[in-house]
Amino acid sequence: MLTPTRKRLMRDFKRLQQDPPTGINVAPQDNNIMLWNAVIFGPDETPWDGGELILALHLLSENICEDEQLYV
């Protein structure tokens, strides 16, 4: 079932794959766009410097807004 939320998430994932930001690495788990694995690299000069934060993001709501510009 391809809700607008899921379409938005697929779009975000594709963007992240094409140009990944330096400090994080993130991807959905196999075949479940609502559950993501993420690694955040410890920023310099913080207690997390040199380490990695390993997270699992569980998206609960199907109501993620399509257009961020509405929140300006």
Binding site: Q17, P20, T22, N25, A27, Q29, N31
Partner: protein, 118 residues
């Protein structure tokens, strides 16, 4: 050997620059990728790893283990048409910190035993 089997990988390091892209067979191991990254590391960077153990590879939201293959580390939803797969490289802190601190912390610690035998 068909060219389509090869995977194109590039590696993004701490300052946002990329090493690669390189073509690898899906059967290549993470250890092999690390060796190549260390060999191709730009010499003008502030932090330069010396060995494959000095770096960690991160892809698809996971830290990759040395014995895994490239094929096992592919991001899901592989049907999306992506040309190059970009992985992140992190230099191990023990190496990076040791390099920065070796000139600072040279005071030898004195090991004095305080026990007395009566």
């Amino acid at each position: 050997m068909p060219e389509e089997d090869l995977v194109e990988l590039q590696f993004r390091i701490y300052d946002g620059s990329d090493i690669g892209p390189f073509r690898y067979s899906p059967a290549s191991t993470v250890a092999m990728l690390k060796e190549r990254i260390v060999a191709e590391w730009p010499k003008d960077k502030k932090i330069i790893p010396k060995a494959a153990n000095d770096i960690k590879l991160i892809s698809a939201g996971k830290i990759l283990e040395n014995n895994k293959t490239v094929g096992q580390c592919r991001a899901p939803f592989g049907e999306l048409p992506i040309g190059v797969i970009t992985m992140h490289v992190v230099v191990q802190p023990s190496f990076a910190k040791a390099k920065a601190e070796k000139d600072v912390d040279e005071v030898p610690r004195k090991h004095v035993c305080g026990c007395s035998i009566l």
